[in-house]
């Protein structure tokens, strides 16, 4: 049930999807993997939209080089655990939501528990090994996964409905090399907004999701392109021969 303050706070979006929709957001739980360039704006906009339960995991502490893009970490946060920095800001910007934080490296041993019974998983990671792990858990648990990644002025995003649409492994069968990467702050902002838009649409059951399409953002030309993707029969996660199918 929304209280008077919440009704006023969310009034402009209740005009879009009604109190029922707002309550759906309030009841939702989203697991955000990463509290960096993507994770900060993802968490911020889910929080202000009133998504009631956010679970955020990240192993890092705030460094000065993060501050050009990781918008919930400020000068005074340097040296703090990123998840604590994010948690404090979220509770301050919207006291009606719960932010549960985990200062931890996401790995095989803990990912199932971290994701728990979330309604959605948001990939705000900076590496492919954990993305593969999130994709596997999403498939095992039947929880949608919203992928985002960035580099420089460019980025990509895609929504994965396990068992129905192309999964992360279908599109990216092999990991990319790791690198110290260049990035402009607005790039994760743009991709994160697409991810949050997807999350809200999914939770409200509105619109057409970014499934079986990879959105490709080119910041230098300000163009978005879409690549059609489809499930691969030989995908080791969702393909017909996958061990997870057994």
């Amino acid at each position: 049930m929304l209280d008077k303050d919440e009704l006023e706070r969310y009034s402009r979006q209740i005009m879009l999807f009604g109190e029922d929709g707002q309550e759906r957001l309030k009841d939702a739980c989203v697991f955000i993997a990463g509290a960096g360039g993507l994770g900060c704006p993802v968490a911020l906009y889910l929080a202000v939209a009133g998504v009631g339960h956010l679970r955020i995991a990240d192993k890092d502490t705030v460094e000065k080089t993060n501050l050009n893009r990781q918008v919930l970490h400020w000068e005074n946060d340097i040296g703090r655990e990123k998840v604590l920095s994010v948690g404090d800001k979220l509770r301050e910007i919207n006291p009606h939501i719960e932010a549960e934080t985990f200062h931890i490296t996401i790995d095989e041993s803990n990912v199932r528990e971290l994701v728990g019974d979330a309604d959605l998983i948001i990939d705000a990671m900076d590496n492919y090994p954990v993305r593969y792990l999130l994709n596997q858990i999403a498939y095992e648990k039947g929880i949608p996964l919203i992928h985002g990644a960035i580099r420089g002025f460019d980025g990509q995003a895609m929504t994965i409905i396990p068992g129905k649409s192309a999964c992360f492994n279908c599109v990216f069968p092999s990991p990319t090399p790791t690198e110290v990467f260049p990035v402009l702050g607005v790039t994760p902002g743009i991709i994160a907004m697409i991810q949050v838009n997807e999350a809200i649409k999914y939770l409200l059951k509105k619109g057409d999701l970014l499934t079986d399409r990879l959105l490709i953002w080119n910041g230098l030309s300000s163009e978005m392109e879409y690549m059609k993707v489809s499930r691969r029969p030989d995908c080791k996660i969702c393909g017909t021969g996958s061990k997870l199918q057994e």
């Binding site: 580099r151 392109e225 993707v229 489809s230």
Partner: protein, 70 residues
């Protein structure tokens, strides 16, 4: 016998280019010729992904650099 590919590069520092290669050349070979690490890109034909071990066909080929960071 050779074929010509009109290569468009998305989100890359490299420029678009035409490439003529022997028939039966794989897309993997095309990337080798261009000096592109196959782990860093997706290949698209008519906006649909094509497998890296597929045989290249004449016409347009889009090479998209994968974003990997967060």
């Amino acid at each position: 016998m050779t074929i010509t590919l009109d290569i468009e590069l998305i989100n890359s520092d490299l420029s678009n280019q035409k490439l003529t290669v022997p028939i039966d050349t794989t897309y993997e070979n095309v990337l080798d010729i261009l000096g592109i690490n196959q782990e860093t890109v997706l290949l698209l034909k008519d906006k649909k992904a094509v497998p890296i071990d597929g045989i290249a066909v004449p016409g347009n080929l889009t090479i998209m650099c994968i974003a990997s960071q967060g």
